[in-house]
Amino acid sequence: MIKVKNLYHSYSRDERYAVKDVSFEIEKGEIFGFLGPSGAGKSTTQGILSGLLRLQKGEVTVAGYNVKKISNKMFNQIGMSFEQSNVYNKLTARENLAFYRKLFDVETRDPDELLELVGLADKAKVKAGEFSKGMKHRLTFARSMINNPSIWFLDEPTTGLDPAIAATIKDIIWDQKKREVTTFLTTHNMFIADELCNRVAFIVDGEVRLIDSPRSLKLQYGSRFVDIEYIGGNGLVKESLSTVDDKDRARIKHIIDNNEIQTMHTKEATLEEIFIKVTGRGLI
């Protein structure tokens, strides 16, 4: 659904690239996480893919449309949720969605259904200007689904939301995946990416350093050990054992068979730890 080949972008139109030689492909129905610290080039890449920024160098196709010569029809298939809420403050939540649905040439979703989905049904008649930051964010998020997009751009979709609302947003993203919506998610929140993404790309200083699935990355970069706490002859015993060494594997089996296990954890590396290991940079 999205193909990017040798993408470059410079705001100063010289050799100081915000994005350098970026290439990747995203399949239909995939949730693709674009991860990196602030200023890494995430928003620039997303801006080019969504047609907000002009393509300077490279090849980009989105839903079969060449981004070099953007057709307005392309936007019928695109939904975009911005990190900064950008709704009409003087219009009510319903009026905001009702206006935007008229700007598409495809079948659109009912504003009230979307407001219900993001937990704003009781605020339909309230002006967006009276909303809290989180409510505005949800309205912006709801708007991005108004045209039933097949490609969905999400910029920090859960930033600033309380955990309960963030969980709702994650559920909606999962639901969209079931509908085979292709999602391009930019975030610096590795937990969200870990939970939602089929694949992630690490971008630092405008360059993509790595693309893989979170699971594969954990297997590749995580320490393959298990921490076990069990009741031994002299009370609580802690052991750290390898999951690949035959001797340790046999020891794990023995402990499980003969002792009361208190806790047992695989020592998986977090996506954040892997990011730091791969890029040598933190996420802030």
């Binding site: 801006g47 969504s50 047609g51 907000l52 920024l53 002009r54 307005n72 029809k73 936007f75 019928n76 695109i78 975009m80 911005f82 900064q84 809420s85 950008n86 709704v87 009409y88 403050n89 003087k90 219009l91 009026e95 206006f99 935007y100 008229k102 700007l103 598409f104 040439d105 495809v106 912006t140 708007r143 045209n147």
Partner: protein, 369 residues
Amino acid sequence: MKLWYSFLKELQLSSKGFYFYIEILMALIMLVVVLFVIPENFDKRSTEYIYVGLPKPASEAMLGKLLDSDTDGIVESVTIKVKDEELSTDYYESDESKVYLAKSESDLIKLADSKKQPGVAISLDEAGSLHYKYYLQGYESQKLKNLYMVSASKDLASLQEGINGQEVRSMSGDYEVLSDRANTIPALLTFNGSFMGMFIIAAYIFLDKSAGIIKAYAVTASTVWQYLMSKVLVITLTTIITSLIVVIPALGGKPDYPLLLLFLVTTGFFASALGLLVSSFFKSLNQSFNAIFVLIIAMMLPSIAYFIPSWEPFWIRFIPSYPILQGFREIILDNGDASYVLFASLGFFVAGSLLFIWSNHRHKGLLTA
């Protein structure tokens, strides 16, 4: 249809916004000024302060002439307060002048000084001829001083005879003069439509930019030109409404309304497109303020030429507000030049279209700026 929906949304937003009511308020203020502050015609009669220090027979003869030309034939006694002193004068009012007759030459000097007007003391010289002593303010032109000297060098009867002997013919027989009140309307309409329209559309764009709304619009299947045009339409509609608020009560059925609407639409479109173009060069209203200020000052220059016809350099005709002012004037005149208005409308429509195309091109590339 998308343009229509965008227009309706802009209309809804502007009706809930600040600028729309500023424009309505400005129009109402203009209307009050036009109806209650600006008279139908300004009093163009000269005010003269005179002291007549002539022997009684001569004095009575001169005052008799003044009384003959007085509108009501009655001399009024008027007291004028100068600083802490009250000076009594005799007041004569004719169709051409208002004359205050001072009781003494010292009173005359005080009156001329306090009222910043020339005063004249009339007496007889040693030869028994009329002698005029003018008290001037110091800033009078040499031309005026020469005129005083000429008028004092001959007796009034022979001067009048010379004047009456001159034949004066107008080059144009159907030259129509607007009343002073009607004459201010074109300037007000130009200010209301062009200047305000240009400023307010730029303000609308900057508000949308700062709120990121323009980005949200850019990722819809609508186009940038529809977004920009919806704002132009709202500004043009507001211009028509606010202009009619002033014109209908002030001028009634005098203007050619179809022509007025056409001219308001085309000039409003031109000014809005100019505002759109200006807004494409800056990120915020603050940054654009200097450019808008310079443009407004430049657009105001033709107003000076409009009210002071003797100052009308050739280059001023190339400033767009010049034909706008002249166009509105022709619309108000009973026998106005409709072809001028139509031609100017065409010009503003073409120029506005070019500016709109240019600003559309610039805004398309600057959505995320």
